[in-house]
Symmetry: C2
Subunit: 296 residues, 2 copies
Amino acid sequence: MAAFLSAGLGVLATSEPYTLTSSSWEPRLDSPFPSDPPTGAQVVAEPGKQGPKNPRVSSVTVQLEMKALWEEFNQLGTEMIVTKAGRRMFPTFQVKILGMDTLADYALLMDFVPLDDKRYRSGGRPGEAAGTAGGGARKSTPTCTLGYAFHSSAWLVAGRADPATPGRVHFHPDSPAKGAQWMRQIVSFDKLKLTNNLLDDNGHIILNSMHRYQPRFHVVFVDPRKDSERYAQENFKSFVFTETQFTAVTAYQNHRITQLKIASNPFAKGFRESDSDSWTVPPRALLSIPTRSHSG
Amino acid sequence: MAAFLSAGLGVLATSEPYTLTSSSWEPRLDSPFPSDPPTGAQVVAEPGKQGPKNPRVSSVTVQLEMKALWEEFNQLGTEMIVTKAGRRMFPTFQVKILGMDTLADYALLMDFVPLDDKRYRSGGRPGEAAGTAGGGARKSTPTCTLGYAFHSSAWLVAGRADPATPGRVHFHPDSPAKGAQWMRQIVSFDKLKLTNNLLDDNGHIILNSMHRYQPRFHVVFVDPRKDSERYAQENFKSFVFTETQFTAVTAYQNHRITQLKIASNPFAKGFRESDSDSWTVPPRALLSIPTRSHSG
DNA sequence: AGTTTGTCACCTAGGTGGCAAAGT
DNA sequence: ACTTTGCCACCTAGGTGACAAACT
């Protein structure tokens, strides 16, 4: 299926750690990680300088759904489980799209870029978190080990990142489709799964456990011209929502992340306490995840 | 989504009762309905004269999956439940496709045409089935009320067909896709649902209960030419498998149909008797229904 | 009397985190 | 000591025919 786009994908560099390309920022206090850019500042991501763009994509605007929930997770340091068989993300990455050419064909896809070149570990005891890290190449000073309880204590830099995994992308299953179709309702990436299996042959996204990642969202205009490869650079637009960054883990490290997942993910309802009034998330966070269908 | 094809759909006439356009046939004894053409004779349907065709579709060949199971149902007189919310078909219509241009785009769709202009009812007592039908406009003589037990007794003609329902079509959700993708594995129409709700707004197939229908399968080459509407007639090819014809019902009329559904549909396992050895269907009939996915 | 509707118990299919055990 | 794996109970989500009640 993805053959129609393969040429255009070369333009998405996925190997180097992601850095914000636009706007300045100041250190924030609510992140458990050093040197984090601020989040939640923009409703619609500013993709920064990407060169001249086809108006078919330059006018496209994207809105992150469940933004409040993402921010709630991000303040604790979002973790996403990776398994051999592949695990969905929660929250699910969902967007509302505006500004497409209703009659043009677009493909939507996601990929994940490393947020830094570090490997983390969940070690030590509270108090010695900042000082006793192993043979790490830690450069920046960890500014905060805030008031949340880790499974053991805190995130420590454990060294340089493991070799980069194959930089896979995930096409939304409905790709390609007309702009009108994409804009009709919320687009949900609920089929996307994360795995730590380097040999995965199910097409899942391969990530290294204990590493941090930034999801990216790409809108690609399917150029009908025969020499469309020549225009690949102008025919896509990328969006980054910093509040969706996360640490890949094989088991949750921060117990408050676990509790928030249980409180907000319908599939984890079995682990909720009987009284369902003590949620920290608003009820709308529990609304069912919209899906898109072609058959209508 | 279907906009790219709407012009081409006009060529599919769905209003008049379907009749076999090719080959001769003789009366058969295993059908509970009068004047039924033979079934199961051809592995691949012969669509008959459809005018000159684009080689992109003329070389396409289609093989019905679960053929043995379809025939088993057809010998009893297949019934399909229709509900207000929409009900899936069982068996599911599934095909294996050969002969497509691997690089060309195709859309696959189904529609349903009336098999005759009659309305049926499930009336009378055994023995008086053939003679005492109500004020029907019955023209042909019912030849067989074979050795199976109806809920009451037999299918009687109850009069002329109700006004034809809106002739909806169901696009396979993966449409459009490359020939290579369609041929990679079995294509399953398991998202298709039948309804008796004339006001249905879920895009389901609308049928009249107590009427007989012939499912049809259409392969449409998505012509990249700007004036593709001009070539609509040559760009599609239709296939009919007579063993898939059925009567739409709101509740099963033939108890042997019910039992065969229970025996062969995994979702009806709850109604099976404890010993699972007394099936009349081969174990392969119970294999899971393959689905196709774009995300790989 | 025949047909349709809505509810139900019982399934399939698959997404949760917990947890013990294994791995490193 | 920390991380990963496999299995589990418990969910969501939705596909079955049975059945009683309603409809016509």
